[in-house]
Amino acid sequence: MLRLPPIRIEAPDTLQDAAQLLSNGNTRLVAGGTDLWPNMKRRHQQADTVVSLMSIPELDVIDNGKTNTRIGATATLADVIRDDEVRRRFPAFAKAVASISSPPLRNMGTIGGNLCVDTRCTYYNQTEEWRRSIDYCLKEEGQICWVATKSPRCWAHTASDSAPILCALDARVTLVSSTGERELPLKDMYVDDGIDYLAKRADEILTELTIPAASDDSQCRSAFWKLRRRGSIDFSTMSVAVAVWTDDSDVVTRATMYLGAVGAAPMPVAEVDAVLVGNKISKDRIAEIAHVAHQIARPMDNTDFTASWRGKMTEQYVTAALREIAGMPPLHMQPRHRLRVI
């Protein structure tokens, strides 16, 4: 088996203690560990001390209040999709969470961990020995990005499946550190850089996620499409998350769209708003947005499938997601693309 290096584990039972522990030395947080442990076994993430959030009782609460829905950071992915209200109010979010990895991993993995999950690249998610044989890369210890050898930056892709849809639904997150607390729109937590992919400071704990009532299914129609090779386990190689608000006569009043896994951060397709607002969703408008999305997507050769095909598929999936929202039947037979509706 791959082994973990020797580490010190702390499992505080208050948030304050956790924040305190996190503020000193080479320390990292762990929640479900489904991302951190494999990364530490492969030695591309290191820490002397790992602070677990799983013993803090109030951190895993899911609260479907009258207005906003609040989900504690350590609620597991399985908890999220088992919650009837979450499923009813935010079906595309629930669908995205249900698409994450596999049932055993969803029982361990948390929503907070998913939002903070490391960016991925097939030159990086490898063992220490393997990375030695390519002399490492920019993201960890090396000098060159092997995906784009002349590039000064890292192109590792965002891996979180809940992030694009939560950004589209205007979710906010609360970050707590030993020095204070702040709330920010989730979309502002991501940075389009494979290495420093979070605007969250290392000493900050994501404690809570808030999805506004305005994004509830009764007011907002949303869709999530995920491209992967197999029906389970696989990370996205490209995903599309869309939310559309309309008036009573189906005229769009607001629209948001984010692409997953084709950039270091969820990539906003801002044009969706300009193209759709004041109009009903039509074939032509869908085609226009799909075309723009294809330009925005920056798939690199660092995950499954060829980059160019993933680019083409962006166009297809944007079309499919918007047609789903507009209630149009799928254009083509869509084998296996469609995720199970939960």
Partner: protein, 852 residues
């Protein structure tokens, strides 16, 4: 899932069918309960007091001379108990006697990323791992070779000096009959290039071995291996200890599929470390290391030329293959022959020319994976037949039916065919899938594809030349009524333990639970060559049957004297022995054993099996012969999205001629597993590599040595499947049985390619069939170019002078017409009994070698 038997079990033909109580019934597998409840002890479950853990230091450079190995930082760590480097194990090894090119630890040269060069033993796995990372190795890099094309253009530096030529390990050219004349008779000649990507076995259990040394240079090695006997031989050679002092115990395997049939570095290293330290030593590989052990499917490029008459019959075929072998020989010489050997076993081919070459490359060694060397040319052949059917306007199923090989004939390349149920297989899947109504008539985007195949039921010859049985079984009986069965076979999950038990229970008329098995232990069990080449059911089954029949006869003799009835009248059934005409006069089986033990003393019998002698006498004729061949036919239904190339397999129909299913449930499990694995190769599996830009790096690495990123089907992705068991009782197999473990994989890949053509008119001449490729083909079609994706050209390669062999049809005698090194008469006995073999041996003749 629907499962249909061709014939319901109790209505099967054959004179013995009604008398059989266990054979042919879906009895519960003997190891099932232990496996389901977690009681089975796999190698990694074993623990011994004072055991040390080993970690291998593996090369991080693809091809280099080793300048220095600095172990000092590792040795300075607390808990390090010992180390090993290459010089301490100077004897080379390798599964094939002609390519013993491996060292337990690299001595001067490393040949691929992952090649082990040092071993560290520590009191815990954590420490061993940390210490292995602390070892500093200095390399002097050498040019790397990543493909067959590069091997051809880069003869120097040689990866191995013994190669046939430069970095071409092995070249073969075998010409049967008048190939050119055959092409002249053809109305249609098709020439196509194909590529079949390499893949790993991906057995769930990672390799694990543990060695325990005893005081006087004796050592016991427990290992996850398919072939304890070959491990035994390799250990003796590399450790320089007589085999009599080495004991190899094959643990239950969590899957093998060919990936555990070589002797491996880590097996030698645990033994050496245990002897060196006087402490038990254990290693369990990581998944990444399993990808480095590899021995999986060779990437093969093929050029196939076949002549057809208007009526669809074939006149001649010329097949050229190149195999990307990786850094070592492994089974590669046999694999090379196998890319040509079985082309003749399904359809009549009067003239046939096979040329094959295997290259050394700086990648993990390829070897045998389910279907060993034959799925690649089978893919090429079956796709080309589909093209021919299309060109000739003949239904692809009919085209195949028109060409079927006949039972009990000899092929152009001198293979003896046994029973053949391929017609029944085709009929079953054609009927089941509604082929006649739907093929070619489904709406755009939906399609059906058909393909067939054949596979060996055990290789006719052992890996190393010898005159001994390929399988042996011993039975010990005593007054307790317990019957102990000893056999060198190994259980991989395929059900071999159950088959062995069933055969003995059937003959002795006792229950499965009255039998104690002792298997895969080189100290205690007679040699069986191992679980490979689909040989176990037939060979172990025959040896077991022989041993059991001897035991039964011994008991019958004593009981007949005791009861004063004729021996022949005694029946063994339901744990009783009784005269057929007087069932009331029954005695219990253990009472019968008491009578026999009283009469003859201690009871024990043996059985052995040697395959019948194959008719071929030319060099290279050793690869391909088998006691008999199994046959399969499959139809796949697909839906293809014309906008994206994404496709979905709706359903699979597969029929398999198994001879006789000794246990239909186990047989269906093998067929379903084959389809599953076949779909993985057809759709996505790739042992792919990355080479970094040469101006920046000399790296050549496995692209994704992890179970997540190496894509293989999950059960989520399995389509619905209908299996048909076709029974054609073959006298060469026990109770008529042939194989089921490998053959049903073979038609899946071509059937998928053919189905995609039916759906969208795109030819995909390579596997795996990624959606990107289908889309590329669709785009080409739309732009009016050839709607085909696949390799564009075949490497320029000189295979050398062919060995000319006249076919049976030409009145040949099985020998080469132009071979100066021609062998004399073979020693294989025609019937395969020990007596015949002895007589054959008396003639003091040498034999046709497997390979040379």
């Amino acid at each position: 899932m629907v499962k249909v038997y061709s014939v319901p079990p109790d209505e099967r033909p054959g004179e013995t069918a009604s008398e059989l109580r266990i054979v042919g019934k879906p009895f519960r597998r003997v190891d099932g309960r232990a496996k389901v409840t977690g009681q089975t002890r796999f190698a990694d479950d074993l623990q011994f007091p004072r055991m040390v853990h080993i970690k291998l230091v593996r090369s991080t450079v693809a091809h280099a001379r080793i300048r220095n190995i600095d172990l000092s930082a590792a040795l300075a760590m607390d808990g390090i108990v010992g180390t090993l480097v290459g010089e301490e194990l100077p004897n080379s090894f390798g599964i094939m006697p002609v390519s013993e090119d491996e060292y337990a630890l690299a001595i001067d040269t490393v040949r691929f990323v992952g090649d082990p060069l040092a071993a560290i033993a520590a009191v815990s796995e954590d420490i061993a791992h940390a210490a292995a990372l602390a070892v500093i190795v200095e390399y002097e890099p050498l040019a790397t070779i990543a493909s067959v094309a590069e091997a051809l253009t880069t003869p120097e530096p040689q990866i191995h000096e013994y190669a046939d030529e430069g970095n071409i390990h092995k070249k073969v050219s075998l010409k049967f009959g008048d190939v050119e004349g055959g092409f002249e008779e053809a109305d249609l000649i098709l020439e196509d290039d194909f590529f079949y990507e390499g893949s790993n076995h991906l057995a769930l259990e990672q390799h694990s071995s543990l060695a325990v040394a005893e005081d006087d240079d004796r050592v016991t090695v427990y290992s996850s291996t398919q072939c304890p006997h070959y491990v035994h031989r390799a250990l003796s050679k590399t450790l320089d200890i007589p085999a009599s002092r080495i004991r190899v115990i094959a643990c239950s395997n969590g899957g093998g599929f060919g990936g555990k049939s070589d002797p491996f570095n880590h097996e030698i290293i645990v033994a050496k470390m245990a002897l060196k330290l006087g402490r038990p030593a254990k290693i369990t590989l990581t998944r990444e290391e399993v990808f480095y052990c590899h021995r999986g499917r060779h990437p093969v490029q093929m050029h196939l030329k076949t002549g057809f008459r208007k009526d669809g019959t074939m006149t001649s075929q010329h097949l050229q293959t190149t195999l990307d072998g990786g850094a070592f020989g492994s089974y590669g010489v046999a694999s090379t022959f196998y890319t040509g050997a079985l082309q003749t076993t399904t359809y009549k081919l009067p003239h046939y020319w096979f040329e094959g070459a295997r290259a050394f490359t700086n990648k993990p060694p390829c070897g045998p994976k389910r279907g060993h060397g034959t799925p690649q040319p089978r893919f090429a052949y079956e796709v080309q037949l589909d093209k021919a059917a299309h060109e000739l306007g003949i239904d692809p199923a009919d085209l195949r039916l028109r060409n079927l090989v006949e039972a009990d004939t000899i092929t152009a390349n001198w293979l003896q065919i046994g029973t053949i149920g391929l017609k029944e297989c085709i009929d079953a899947v054609v009927k089941g899938s509604g082929w006649k109504e739907h093929y070619g008539r489904l709406p755009e985007g939906r399609g059906l594809g058909i393909a067939c195949s054949a596979y060996m039921t055990g290789a006719g010859l052992p890996i190393y030349w010898n005159h001994m049985p390929q399988s042996g079984v011993q039975i010990k009986l005593d007054r307790s009524g317990n019957v102990a069965v000893f056999c060198g076979e190994t259980e991989l999950g395929q059900g071999s333990d159950s088959i062995l038990t069933a055969v003995v229970a059937e003959v002795l008329g006792i229950g499965l639970k009255d039998i104690r098995l002792c298997v895969g232990d080189t100290d205690l069990t007679p040699v069986d060559l191992g679980s490979y080449s689909s040989r176990v059911t037939l060979m172990v089954g025959q040896a077991a049957k022989q041993a059991a029949e001897k035991a039964r006869d011994k008991i019958a003799e004593a009981v007949s004297e005791h009861m004063e009835v004729a021996m022949e009248s005694l029946v063994f059934a339901d744990g009783q022995v009784f005269p057929a005409h007087e069932p009331k006069q029954r005695i219990g089986f253990n009472e019968a054993v008491v009578i026999a033990e009283s009469r003859f003393g201690t009871l024990g019998t043996t059985g052995s099996y040697i395959p019948p002698r194959a008719p071929g006498r030319f060099r290279g004729s050793g690869v391909g012969p088998s006691p008999t061949y199994s046959y399969s036919a499959a139809v796949l239904a697909v839906r293809v999205d014309p906008e994206t190339g994404v496709y979905d397999i709706d359903r699979v129909w597969i029929a398999h001629d198994i001879g006789r299913a000794l246990n239909p449930v186990l047989a269906l499990g093998q067929i379903e597993g084959s389809v599953y694995m076949g779909l993985g190769e057809a759709m996505m599996e790739e042992q792919a590599f990355r080479r970094l830009p040469k101006r920046l790096s000399s790296a050549l690495v496995h692209k994704m040595p992890s179970m997540l990123e190496y894509k293989s089907l999950g059960f989520h992705d399995m389509p619905e499947m209908t299996c048909y068991l076709i029974e054609t009782d073959d006298v060469r197999g026990p109770y008529g049985a042939k194989e089921a473990g490998q053959g049903p994989l073979l038609p899946i890949m071509p059937a998928l390619s053919n189905a995609i053509f039916d759906a969208v008119g795109v030819r995909v001449d390579q596997v795996p069939i990624h959606p990107e490729l289908v889309l590329k083909g669709l785009q080409a079609k739309r732009q009016g170019r050839e709607a085909r994706v696949g390799p564009e050209k075949f490497p320029d390669i000189n295979y050398g002078e062919p060995l000319i062999v006249h076919t049976p049809g030409q009145g040949g005698d099985g020998r080469a017409a132009n071979d100066p090194k021609a062998s004399r008469k073979g020693v294989r006995s025609a019937s395969g009994t020990m007596k015949d073999r002895d007589e054959a041996l008396k003639e003091h003749s040498s034999a046709t070698l497997t390979t040379d």
